[in-house]
Symmetry: C4
C-alpha cells in the first residue's frame, strides 16, 4: 500500500514534513485494514463451511478495501479537502456495509445455533459504524476536520480487538477450553 | 492491481469524475478475476494430483491474467478507443483459452471417472465464452461500445458462481454430504 | 519492494552506476527484512497460542517494516544525506522496539516456562540493537557515513541466524530431537 | 512484476507496437521465474528439514529474482542495448548460482542417501546453465542479439519441467507410488 506514496524530492527535512499528512493517513488506513484483518482471522478460523455466496461476499468486501490505498494517496496529497475526505469516508462506509453482508453470509451458512452466530449476535457496533460513516461522508463536504475526527472515532471503537467474539468463540469451541 | 491507477491531481470533484472510467474498468476486472478465483478455489480443492503439465498450464493461465492490470489502466485512460478495447478483450480471450487448457490438464490427471471430470463435463459455457470474446475482439475495432456490452455479457454468464460444479462436487465427495 | 526503484533513463552504463547506492540500500534492506523473516519463522512455528494482543503487536511491527521501502528509495536517491539516513535508522529503531513488544506478547501468552520463553531469555541482543539504532539516528544528523557503519554492524549482529533460539527450541521440542 | 511496465500514452496502435519488446521480455521473465517456481515446488515438497542455512540460501536466491523486474523494465525500454542485456543476463547467472547453493544446502540437510540427493544428483544441467549465462554476459557487450539467443536456449533447457526429479521423487516416496 505504501508503494503509492512518492518519496520527497531531495534530501531536505521540509520534504519529510510535507509528507506527514500522507504518512498519518497511511497509518490510519493500516490500522483500519488491521481491524478487519484481525476480526476476519477469528471469523474464518471459526467458519466451517464456505460456499459461493461467502466467496463473493468476501470479494465484494475486498473490492472496497482494495480502493483504499488509492483514496489514501489522494487524500494524503490533498488533506482536509472536502471531496477526497468524503471519498475516503465513502470507502470506509462501503467496507462496513460489505463486512455486514459477509458476516450475514457466514452466519447463514453456519446456522443460527452456531458459535459464530452467537458471537456475532446482532452486530450493533457494525451498524453504528456504518451510520457514523454515512454521516461522516456528508460532514466531510462541509467540515472535513470534523469528519476526520468522526472517522478516527469509528476506528477507535474497533481498535480494541473484537474481544466479545474472541471470548464467545473460546467458550463455545472446546479446543480452546 | 489498483496501484497502476494514478489518483487525480488536486482535490477537485472533476478529477474524481474523470477517473470514473478507470474505476469502472477496475471493478469489471476485479469481478472477472474473481470469477476465476472462485471457480479455481473449487477446482484445486477437488484436485488430488498435481503434475508438471498442470503447473505450467496454471502459469500460462496466470500469465494472461497478470497482463490484465496493464490493459485495464490503458483502457481506463482511453476508454471506448478501438485498440485498447480489443487488447483488453484479447486478454479475456486468452484467459478463457488458457483456463480450458488448465481444466483439461487437471481432468486428464484425475481420470475420466473422477468427480472433477463429471463436474466439468464438456465445459460448453467455457467454449461459448471463448467464442464471444473472439467475436468481441473484432467488434472492438469497429464498435467499441458494442464489444464492451459483449464482454459484460460474458462475465455475467459466470457471475453466478459455477453452482453446477459446486453441486456436483458436493454430491460426489462424501465429506460434504 | 524493488518496485519503488526506477530503472535508469537510457541504456548507458553511467545510469547503472548512478543506481548503485539505491541497489546497495535495497540489498541491505533485503537482508534486514530477511533477519526478521527468518527469526519470525522460528517464532511462529513454536508459538502455540495467538491472541488479540499478539495480532496487534505483529501488525505494529509490520507497520514499521512496511515503511522501509519508501525510506530506502528516498535514501537511495539521497545517500549520505543526514535526514534520509536518520529516517531510515529511525525505522530500524522502531522495528526493533516493535519486535521486542511482539516477543513479549508471545512469551506472555505461552507462559514463563515455555520453550519460547527460555529461548528468548532476556533478549539482550535485541536491547543492544535498539540502543545502537537510537544512537545511530542521532549520529546520522552529523556523520551519516558513521551512522551507516553502525547500522551495518547492527544487521551483522543478527545475520548469523538466531542460532541460540534455533538450538534452544530444537532441544526443548521433542519432534526435532 | 507487470506493474513496472508503463502503458502507452494515447490509444493508438503504434503505442502497443512500441511496447512489444517490453512484453516479450516480460513473457520471458515470467517463464524464467516459472521454471524456478515449479522446480522449487517439487523441492520444498520433498524437503523434510529446514534450517538457518536453507532459509538464508533461499533468501539469497530470492534477492536476485527480486531484481529481475527492474532489469526487465530497463531492458524492455532499451532492448538490444549491450549494458541492459548484460545486466539481465548477470541476474540470470546469479539466480543460477544461488539456486545451486540452495540445492546444496537442502541436500546437505537431508543427507546423501535422501530421495532429494539422488534426484538432484550432480545437477549438471544447472552447471551448464551457469556457464552459458556467464558466457552470455560477456557476449551481450559485443553481440546483444546473440546473447539473447543464448539466454532463450538456457530457459528452453529447463522449460520441460524437471521430469527427472519429478520421476525420481515419485519413485522414492511411497505416497506417490
Amino acid at each position: 500500500m505504501v508503494l503509492g506514496i512518492r518519496p520527497p524530492q531531495g534530501p531536505a527535512l521540509v520534504g519529510l514534513v510535507r509528507m506527514l499528512p500522507s504518512i498519518a493517513i497511511y497509518a490510519f488506513s493500516f490500522v483500519f485494514l488491521g481491524i478487519y484483518w484481525n476480526s476476519h482471522h477469528h471469523l474464518f478460523q471459526a467458519a466451517r463451511r464456505v460456499n459461493g455466496r461467502i466467496l463473493w461476499a468476501n470479494l465484494h468486501f475486498l473490492f472496497w478495501l482494495s480502493l483504499m490505498p488509492l483514496a489514501a494517496v489522494w487524500l494524503g496529497e490533498n488533506y482536509a479537502a472536502p471531496v477526497p475526505t468524503a471519498v475516503y469516508g465513502a470507502l470506509m462506509l462501503m467496507a462496513g456495509v460489505a463486512s455486514r453482508l459477509l458476516l450475514r453470509a457466514i452466519v447463514s451458512a453456519e446456522g443460527p445455533d452456531s458459535a459464530i452466530a452467537k458471537a456475532v449476535g446482532r452486530d450493533r457496533k457494525g451498524l453504528v459504524s456504518v451510520l457514523f460513516c454515512l454521516f461522516g461522508v456528508g460532514l466531510a463536504l462541509v467540515q472535513p476536520w470534523a469528519a476526520d475526527a468522526l472517522f478516527v472515532l469509528v476506528a477507535a471503537m474497533w481498535f480494541v480487538p473484537d474481544l466479545r467474539m474472541e471470548k464467545a468463540l473460546h467458550t463455545a469451541l472446546p479446543e480452546n477450553a
